[in-house]
């Protein structure tokens, strides 16, 4: 199957669609990926969630997030229409390792990625960091400080994560649209810088 449009726009009901681009929001279980997408998406994020008691009781670690009752078992995503010809999709990665087979799908063609970390469980984000590094995808690490507590300073976190200085490390609030926007902009500016160097 080719991936170009059928050469007959007059037969189309809606004409040329907007150019879709996407970014990937990754991170461990319960770090705020869905919240991040919801904060900035113009649509109610389309999420396939099932109550954790149904599908994952005893599998997911709720020790640090005892109030979280659902987890994302498939993809969740939102859309931002940047202008009538350009749509930015934000895809959250599945929260559990066993859905890792979906990652290639999510990452193919993405402009960049944001890895969200919770400093109480830094190791949860290693899978995403490793994956983006291996794929060569421009990414930043965002520390979600939604409860206002950052127990460590950024240098300590950077050391603990063992990420090079070329990977931006930002603090942001997943519930605040402007904060999410700025974190995404850090990723995009890195992507632009990389593309300019090519």
């Amino acid at each position: 199957m080719t991936t170009t449009a059928l050469p007959n726009p007059s037969a189309s009901g809606a004409g040329r669609p907007p150019l879709p681009v996407k970014m990937v929001i990754a991170g461990g279980f319960g770090v705020g990926k869905t919240t991040t997408v919801a904060s900035i998406s113009e649509i109610e994020p389309l999420t396939t969630e099932a109550a954790i008691t149904e599908v994952a009781a005893g599998v997911d670690d709720l020790t640090h997030t005892p109030h979280k009752t659902t987890t994302t078992v498939a993809m969740d995503f939102g859309v931002i229409t940047l202008d009538p010809t350009l749509k930015l999709y934000l895809f959250g990665t599945p929260g559990q390792d066993r859905f890792g087979f979906m990652w290639d799908d999510l990452v193919a063609g993405a402009l960049g990625g944001l890895v969200i970390v919770d400093t109480r469980r830094l190791d949860d984000c290693f899978a995403a960091v490793d994956y983006f590094e291996n794929k060569g995808l421009p990414f930043a690490v965002g520390i979600n400080v939604f409860d206002g507590n950052l127990d460590h300073d950024l240098d300590e976190v950077r050391w603990a994560l063992d990420i090079p200085d070329s990977v931006p490390l930002v603090m942001f609030d997943a519930r605040e649209r402007g904060s999410v926007r700025d974190a995404l902009l850090v990723v995009l500016e890195l992507a632009l810088q990389r593309a300019e160097e090519e």
Binding site: M1, T4, K22, T47, T48, A50, G109, G112, G178, R181
Partner: protein, 189 residues
């Protein structure tokens, strides 16, 4: 019916027809549990009184069946999406021919054509219709072959296209935060 010459599409339709009587309409807004690929169906989405049928699904042994209790490979007549899979954000739009054919289309095909009057991504389609993504890929391919849909894949090298990246950055900077401030007037320095 302009799609009647599409042999594979017709075969898929026949299978779907035979299956549908076992399927309850998805009345509740409960998310589907069918996250497995056709090659590895999720145990939780299998029909039967499994743990995936939900805590409030009624008496044990009488699970509420949802549309996704049909295995994905049945909806697609056993076909899987081809090797060069369309990206998730691929835009799909109904053609005027598709709208004309709408009354003759059934089930998933009807739903897809009806939903795509406005451009939708494959991911949005899958989520809205509670269908597995790869099912949507296969069916969208059928509908495109029949001329009912146009399929617009994203620009393959968008991630390395400076003009696209700049447009995304400019567009995102103009997104206001919750106080209505854009990135540009948010920064005093």
């Amino acid at each position: 019916m302009s799609g009647s010459d599409d042999v594979s599409g017709r075969r898929a339709e026949a299978v779907v027809r035979a299956l549908r009587p076992y399927v309850a309409p998805p009345e509740e807004d409960e998310p589907p549990a069918g996250v497995a690929s056709p090659a590895a169906p999720a145990p939780a989405s299998a029909p039967g009184p499994g743990p995936g049928s939900g805590p409030a699904a009624g008496p044990v042994g009488e699970p509420v069946r949802r549309s996704l209790s049909v295995r994905p490979f049945l909806v697609t007549a056993g076909r899987v999406s081809d090797t060069d899979r369309l990206p998730l954000e691929t835009q799909v739009i109904t053609t005027t021919a598709g709208l004309d054919a709408l009354p003759a289309l059934t089930f998933e095909q009807h739903d897809i054509v009806a939903a795509c009057r406005e451009p939708l991504s494959l991911a949005e389609l899958a989520a809205r219709l509670h269908l597995h993504l790869n099912v949507v890929r296969v069916l969208a391919g059928d509908l495109r072959s029949a001329g009912h849909l146009t399929v617009h894949a994203p620009q393959a090298d968008a991630a390395h296209d400076l003009s696209v990246l700049r447009r995304v950055i400019d567009g995102l900077r103009a997104v206001p935060d919750s106080r209505g401030l854009t990135r540009d007037n948010n920064r005093p320095a």
